[in-house]
């Protein structure tokens, strides 16, 4: 009888297929002077022709950042970063002079990059109902569907455009959920962020399509510091998706984004991420350092739901969180984090219960293979006035092989006696008996592993919008072809 691969071998094969999004395209880039200084920050501010308050915001952040220490408390290791060796602003030259006003004006090379990634910039191609904003290096390339949304009063544009066209709205909310001095990487982002997406959904409007941003790092030696701000006004609803890829590089690249969500009373923001940044090679060389601050504030009866599938990056370090400020507000966090080779992930959430009758739900599924380390870290905090707060947390770890690690650090702080906080955790392996059962039914081992992992992640994947759920499943079972033992 032929040798059947062990579950570990099957998954390793399954995960070790080449990173398919690692191609590089030579674009002429316009770069800011190397390194970080007040001059560089002013350069960025001037390049982007931002309103005066932004220079102040950036400078305050930069000065705060200079006083801060690079944090290393995560359950992962990275070498201290030389911040003076990187470029903080890179724009394809064709975009630098003036942003394209229509899709026809987008540089064909840039369009080709997004075509290869399968991200359609043409509106016709996305009648399926996803509006796309594509961010390449530091600048936003195209925002589709804009006009149709504008008729409903929905603003969906790049952060640069928002600063030009809606400065008061940005000023009112920027930095209100993640202050400029929140943490080392958020301060860095506040000082140098170049672009990102901005969404505003007016009172009582239900955004009829999924809004999506696709982030791509192309240039060398640049970090990507995008800034996303989403505001759902009273009673509004919006579902927003982000996807990310980057070329293969032998050195680490820093990605330090900040996302702020503001859910005003009775609104609902659903935020989904498929993170597939380049993870580095098998020896752990290169890859993206994905150090991201994501936080939302939920006012009365509002609901914020984070769903993430973290598959890429050398190190993922992020805790999409919800401040449950208003009474009866709801926070949710659904996460799949998959690590292989030398990847390290330290991710989870914070649910801060402030209002009465606030509810939160955490479902985290970690899958570790190779020599990777996968950590869930979460905080559930119930403040003294949060009468009848409820939390349920489920943290599961799936281990593939014996040289990877899974860790769970749930922090729970309850300052109100009426709160009910539940935490469940499991650690498991894919059993030989399940694989044999599948093979008896004719399901090849590779496919069985995918089926089982898909099932394990089902509760999280079910929360992704349909278009993304398909992509997420593909990413989970990235290599149907040529991987059967």
């Amino acid at each position: 009888m032929s040798h059947a691969p062990t579950p570990e071998e099957a998954l390793t094969q399954h995960l070790s297929t080449e990173y398919k999004w690692g191609f590089e395209v030579e674009l002429e880039e316009e770069l800011a002077p190397k390194g970080l200084s007040e001059e560089v920050i002013e350069y960025i501010w001037r390049k982007k022709q931002e309103p005066p308050f932004m220079l102040d915001f950036r400078m305050r952040a930069f000065r705060a950042w200079k006083e801060m220490q690079e944090p290393h408390w995560l359950n992962a290791h990275y070498e201290p970063i030389d911040y003076q060796e990187a470029y903080y602003y890179a724009a394809p030259k064709s975009m630098a002079e003036k942003a394209p006003r229509s899709l026809d004006e987008v540089d064909p090379e840039i369009r080709r990059i997004f075509d290869r990634l399968g991200i359609p910039l043409e509106e016709q191609a996305i009648l399926a109902g996803v509006a796309v904003d594509a961010v390449l290096d530091s600048v936003s390339v195209a925002t589709t569907y804009k006009e149709r949304l504008a008729k409903m009063g929905i603003i969906f544009c790049s952060m640069s455009e928002a600063l030009q066209n809606y400065p008061d709205l940005v000023r009112k909310y920027l930095g209100t959920v993640v202050p400029y001095n929140d943490n080392f990487f958020a301060a860095l982002n506040s000082a140098v962020f170049s672009d990102g997406s901005f969404v505003y959904v007016p009172k009582g409007v239900r955004c009829p399509i999924e809004l999506s941003t696709y982030f791509r790092i192309n240039a060398r030696k640049t970090g990507q510091f995008e800034r996303t701000l989403i505001i759902a006004d009273e009673g509004a609803y919006v579902s927003y998706l982000e996807g990310c890829t980057a070329p293969k590089r032998s050195e680490h690249q820093l990605h330090a984004a900040v996302v702020e969500l503001i859910a005003l009373p009775n609104s609902y923001i659903k935020y989904s991420t498929i993170q597939n940044w380049y993870p580095g090679d098998k020896q752990g060389r290169g890859g993206i350092l994905n150090f991201v601050t994501k936080r939302g504030i939920a006012h009365e009866n509002a609901r914020i739901s984070w769903t993430q599938m973290e598959a890429g990056s050398a190190i993922t370090w992020k805790y999409p969180s919800v401040i449950l400020k208003g009474d009866n507000s709801i926070g949710e966090f659904y996460s799949v984090a998959i690590t292989n080779n030398r990847q390290q992930a330290d991710t989870g959430t914070k649910m801060i219960h402030i209002g009465k009758n606030t509810r939160s739900r955490i479902v985290s599924k970690g899958i570790s293979a190779g020599s990777s380390q996968n950590t869930y870290r979460g905080l559930v905090q119930v403040m003294p006035n949060a009468e009848n707060a409820r939390n349920f947390s489920q943290c599961d770890s799936l281990l593939m092989g014996s040289s990877c690690g899974a860790h769970t650090f749930p922090y729970i702080e309850v300052k109100n006696p009426t709160a009910i906080v539940e935490h469940e955790a499991t650690t498991s392996k894919i059993g030989e008996d399940i694989l044999f059962y599948c093979s008896q039914r004719g399901i090849p081992r590779q496919e069985a592993v995918e089926l089982i992992i898909g099932g394990y992640c089902q509760e999280v994947l079910a929360n992704l919008p349909l278009e993304f759920a398909v992509e997420a499943r593909k990413l989970l079972s990235i290599s149907l072809e040529g991987s059967v033992g």
Binding site: M1, I434, Y437, Q440, R441, G442, I443, E447, E459
Partner: protein, 248 residues
């Protein structure tokens, strides 16, 4: 159709099957009965190709094809089905997803395209109706939270969908109350077919009251020690293994 000749199998160097011979023809139902430790479950496992069972000697063919050289999935494509004694749970994977994967793997082995989702659903509903199963169970995760009876009926349901040449029922009656046993037996009887054979492995006579076997074999110490018609099962029920085996 299924031909087992002089089969010797050991587990961790301990001989379990010691020269088992059995031939099953299309349309037949064979019962294999035996006391604990006789090698009944080893027979089921080795036929399906579970790892850890060393075939020392002998041959097993299905429609002339050498089963022992095939990995488990190829045995499945060749038409062998095992209803497990302890069906496993697969959390988050619905019966529809699971059977779609299984059915499409079988179709791919036959060079056929994957089944259309609408055809799949039609097929699954038909088979569920045939076995008087509530179609709601199609969207439940495979065996998750199923009672013992539900699990065994779900096994027979999979059998109905995959339409094997030969089905091995490994102690399908164990742990079932009389009502559940009847339902499972009815399901099996509904699937009897002139081109399909069943091998019913059991400790007890009880299930054979509902699934009437054509042949009954007594397995003891790794060998078939007696074969006969349905009356042999009855004799066993009356006298017990000990007195019957003492005479061998």
């Amino acid at each position: 159709m299924l031909k087992i000749e002089n089969l010797h199998v050991s587990v961790e160097n301990r001989p379990i099957l010691k020269g088992l011979t059995l031939e099953v023809h299309p349309g037949e139902v064979h019962a294999i009965m035996g006391p604990n430790g006789a090698g009944k479950s080893t027979l089921a496992a080795v036929l399906a190709g579970r790892e850890g069972y060393e075939v020392e000697e002998g041959t097993v063919t299905l429609d002339g094809k050498n089963l022992l050289e095939m990995p488990p999935e190829d045995r499945s494509y060749a038409g062998l089905f095992l209803a497990f004694q302890y069906p496993v749970e697969i959390p988050g994977v619905s019966m529809v997803q699971f059977l779609r994967a299984a059915l499409n793997a079988h179709r791919a082995a036959q060079g056929k395209d994957p089944i259309e989702v609408s055809d799949l659903m039609k097929l699954l509903r038909e088979k569920a109706a045939l076995l008087k199963l509530d179609p709601a169970f199609l969207t439940r995760s495979v065996n998750e939270g199923f009672s013992g009876g539900e699990r065994k009926r779900a096994e027979i349901f999979q059998l109905a969908v995959l339409e094997p040449r030969v089905a091995i029922l490994d102690e399908t009656d164990s742990g079932l109350d009389i009502d559940a046993l009847r339902l499972v037996a009815d399901a099996v009887n509904a699937l009897r077919h002139p081109e399909r054979a069943f091998v019913v492995i059991t400790h007890y006579y009880r299930i054979l009251q509902y699934i009437r076997p054509d042949k009954v074999h007594i397995l003891a110490d790794g060998r078939i020690v007696r074969s006969g018609g349905p009356e042999l099962a009855l004799e066993l029920e009356e006298k017990g293994y000990e007195s019957l085996l003492a005479r061998v």
